[in-house]
Amino acid sequence: MTTHIAEGYNFAYLDERTKKMIRRALLKAVAIPGHQVPFGSREMPLAYGWGTGGIQVTAAVIGRDDVLKVIDQGSDDTTNAVNIRQFFTRTTGVRTTTRTREATLIQTRHRIPETPLVAGQVLVYQVPQPEPLYKLEPRRAETTKLHGAGEYGLMNVKLYEDLAQWGRIDESYEYPVKVDDRYVMSPSPIPSFDNPKMHRMPALQLFGAGREKRLYAIPPYTDVQSLDFEDHPFRIEPHGHACERCGDTASFLDEVAGTDGQVHWTCSDTDWCADRVDQGHAHG
């Protein structure tokens, strides 16, 4: 497929002043890990909920030498990922890739790649709701105060409630974390399976919420702890399944309904899966 660079647009679509504004907000976000920084979110040529926050962050930090990877639910070839990748190809002309190792900049929705990220890489998350206290305290002014005073009893109320109602903490995704032992933060709707990957990650993690007009960040090698109770510590539930393509049991698996009425399990991270198949891990 050949994609032409669209004429009449600035590099990465946004004008330079806007990119500067976003970068300023990002600097502040990096300086205060986990703290939500307001920014002047722009209208983007796609609807809220499709990654407008992530796209603006990517547009603000992308350079001509970057190699971009875009994933949606771990996959490089879903509609959202394809569209965003094409958008940046057309507005920047930068090289894109599906290989996690080759990418310098990765925009993601709902997953962290299985391949461990390294220093120098940047991971950009698309965030629908940046406020982890939102479901418990709908008033923005009040949650700002709670964050400011570090009053996070409320967050544990939610976890308590899950344990009381379900016998376990029922947050299979968007599981709240505490960053650098200070701010409670929403990790965006990634599965709780991915939470441990955020802890002391060598890559820079940036989060953008377009509709809510908030940015936040986790600098490299920062402590990120999932909230829990002493007698009910955070843990990842094993699937008890193996990927049907590569046989992996340790990666995050998607449940797929087959045309034969059977349920199939495959790696959610398509690059990881393909890598393993190439290395001869095909499922016997």
Partner: protein, 264 residues
Amino acid sequence: MDEAAEPLLRVRGLSHRFAAARDERYAVQDADLDLFAGEVVAIVGESGSGKSTLLNCIAGRIAPTHGEVHYRDATGRWLDVHGLTERQQRVLARTEWGFVEQNASDGLRLDVSAGANIGERLMGQGERHYGRLRGTAERWMARVELDTGRIDDSPRAFSGGMRQRLQIARNLVTRPRLVLLDEPTSGLDVSVQAKLLDLIRMLTARMHLCALIVTHDLGVARLLAQRTLVMRHGRVVEQGLTDRVLDDPQHPYTQLLVSSVVMP
């Protein structure tokens, strides 16, 4: 100074005028008040007499136009309540103080279970052990005579009286030193009121609480409070031992108030 002789709370020359009030009309004017540990004090008066405004000024929820509120904390330090930062005020409000709202739904989280409502202040103070939180919640439900089997039910499913009990448990679970109650029994029917008053009386006595109760019901003051203040048009017109104030009222307004109680 002797511990018993030193008050817990000291209010001096407290006046408040709402910004929207016409001319020089004060909601509260020149209120002085000392509260001692283990003492229950009632503020009575008709609607609009400034009782709730005074209570809110004491609680730090309204910054008074004039006057000061000083509180002696657990370490014996005197704090100027309105000189504290908002953050310090909030810490005080969820550790050493309790506030029981007239409307239980204002003081409760209706979207989470009764157990979580009781546990919230404990979690806010850093309790991170689920088993202990649950144990404490059950003990407190029993103490306020709520069915412990309903620990996982939403307070939405509770009656008005049960909600008020839950609100009291939620406030007392961290053993505050000072509890402010704003008309805790109004809106409840008489038999439920009587039981709730009994409960409050028992708890304040057993926990050696210092409580300030705002009420328009002289019966509540009679039953709970050792001392009573009578307010009218924003001024404290009379104060003294409850029995003295109610049996031998000095101020004409108190006399009117006492004589207008309907006896069944």
